[in-house]
Amino acid sequence: MRGTSTIIGLTLALGALPSDAAQPAAPDFSGVWARLTFGFERPASGQGPIGRYHNQSNVGGNFESPNLTPSAAAIVKQRSEILRSGRDYPNPSLNCWPMVSPYIFRVQEMQMLQKKDEVVFLFMQDHQVRRVRLNSTHPAKVTPSWYGDSVGHYEGDTLVVDTIGARIAREPVLDMYGSPYTDALHVIERYRLVDYEVAKAAQDKNIRDAGPVATEQAASVDEAYQGKGLQIEFTVEDKNVFKKPWSAVVTWRRAGGWVENVCAENAYEYYSGGLTDIPRADRPEF
């Protein structure tokens, strides 16, 4: 009997050995996650994103939102006018730039690799990689970068990610509504698993509210999968752009696959600063 107790004790001890794959108490976010729209879901209460202008397609963000500062409203309006003219304003998705959070949630498939001391996010569009240091702090002086400096920790079943230090590009774009951002940007994300029914209802509502995506997408949801979904609640602060913080939600379900989705194929020569001598046809193909 004593021997049996010892064996059980040993088994428990071995079972409790720490693993590098994930912290023992951390929720398991592994797998490929997908969503089928670009838009955010509005929060249950409180200030939400500026949204689309009069909730119409292809007219940009609501530059009349009272939550925008005057300078930010002017930028959103200018971007809206470009869209109305049938063209696009520069933005990371079209121009193959790395995407800051929460703009990066428009990428419709992603994976989370949970390591002991970091979480690595893989995004399908243009093979983007985002890193979050766990149980760490931001440096006293952050070097601005496209993704910013992200630290995170687990709070029970929730991964909390805090990001500052996003690089201020010439045309900073924070969301699909055309909101800009400044060096005051601060984003807090909270990741947790939700039941299948919750995830499906949230995705279905988002499609009803935002409308289906107009163009064919590489992403797909595994409709047969009825396991947990993933929901991210996030809050955005940037006093130079928004009069008060706002929140939104994005909901993911198990993806139907993962494909290579490359954005950048350009003839610009990085080192010489010129155009590459690309092949030319001797005669037209028509």
Binding site: R2, G3, T4, T6, I7, L10, T11, L14, D20, A21, I82, R87, D88, Y89, P90, N91, S93, L94, N95, C96, W97, P98, L113, K115, V120, L122, D126, H127, Q128, V129, R131, R133, T143, S145, W146, Y147, R170, E171, T215, V259, E260, V262, C263, A264, E265, N266, A267, Y268, E269, Y270, Y271, S272, G274, T276, D277, I278, P279
Partner: protein, 291 residues
């Protein structure tokens, strides 16, 4: 005593699977000091640059692959020669690295820093250039019909202390290449990589041999931690492509611990091409010149 023996036996039994499952630990950030493949001391190896600097090293700004190397099929030799002429004229030929496209193996080995994330059923390899990554299914097989992609379909397994990665299905384009000289390939390209830890001194010597051939990059810093005395990482690889090469050939590259603990961003793509509209995006324009 019986109980003690039982526990000891059980402990051994439980430890046995752990040893069987033990895999080499490739964690950490790894760095190289050159872009090139190690030249084979004997046997068929990678192309050598015919353009040399006064000090005898390969001229990184004049890339003339040895189009006389007998491993090249005639059509491939002609392309390598053509690229060499473009480079000698001071221009650049299309290159996946310069144009921000994903790099297939073995060309991806030119990237100066990488990191392996080892999981039970897959390996994710992160590369610092243009936030590229590859995912390798462990103990899997290639699909019967592979959908071609820039980085191909990779499966892997461990053989003792070695990780073996097998890649097929690499997309072919008019500008496809597998080395810095623009050597092309066909859809039959098959690359086998073998990763294993090697002693610090062996890694140091291999990197120094590579520097002796290629010199260190003049366009960017070197990120090797030269004070680190721990293990290095060697990637041996074999290339098969009967349509391009007269025989299979091999080479290797050596990594050592990177001097950076958290790597920065190297975003390659900043272009104004509008993906959906097929036109140029509305970029800001100055009303007057800056000078």
């Amino acid at each position: 005593m019986r109980a003690g023996a039982t526990v000891a036996l059980l402990a051994l039994c439980m430890a046995a699977p752990a040893r069987a499952d033990a895999v080499p630990d490739f964690s950490g950030i790894w760095a190289r000091t050159t872009f090139g493949y190690d030249l084979a001391p004997s046997g068929p190896g990678p192309l050598k640059n015919l353009a040399r600097r006064p000090n005898g090293t390969s001229d990184a700004f004049k890339l003339v692959g040895d189009y006389n190397n007998p491993i090249l099929q005639p059509w491939a030799a002609a392309i390598v020669k053509q690229h060499g002429l473009i480079s000698l004229a001071g221009k650049s030929y299309p290159d996946l690295s310069n144009e921000c496209r994903p790099l297939p193996p073995p060309y991806v080995l030119r990237i100066a820093q990488m990191q392996m994330l080892q999981e039970k059923d897959r390996i994710t390899i992160l590369y610092i250039q243009d936030h590229q990554f590859r995912q390798v299914r462990l103990n899997g097989t290639h699909p019967a019909k592979v959908v071609p992609s820039w980085i191909g379909d990779s499966v892997g397994h461990y053989e003792g202390d070695t990780l073996v990665i097998d890649t097929v299905g690499i997309r072919t384009e008019p500008t496809s290449l597998i080395d810095m000289y623009g050597t092309p390939h066909t859809p039959a390209l098959h690359v086998i990589e073998r990763y294993r830890l090697i002693d610090a001194e062996a890694a140091k010597q291999e990197q120094e041999r590579s520097e002796h051939e290629y010199g260190r990059p003049t366009t960017e810093p070197v990120y090797v931690d030269f004070d680190y005395r721990g293990k290095g990482l060697q990637a041996e690889f074999t290339v098969e492509d009967p349509g391009t090469f007269t025989r299979s050939w091999g080479s290797s590259v050596a990594y050592r611990r990177s001097s950076v603990r958290e790597w920065g961003e190297i975003a390659c793509a900043e272009n104004t091409a509008d993906y959906y509209a097929g036109a140029t995006a509305t970029v800001p324009t100055a009303e007057r010149p800056d000078f």
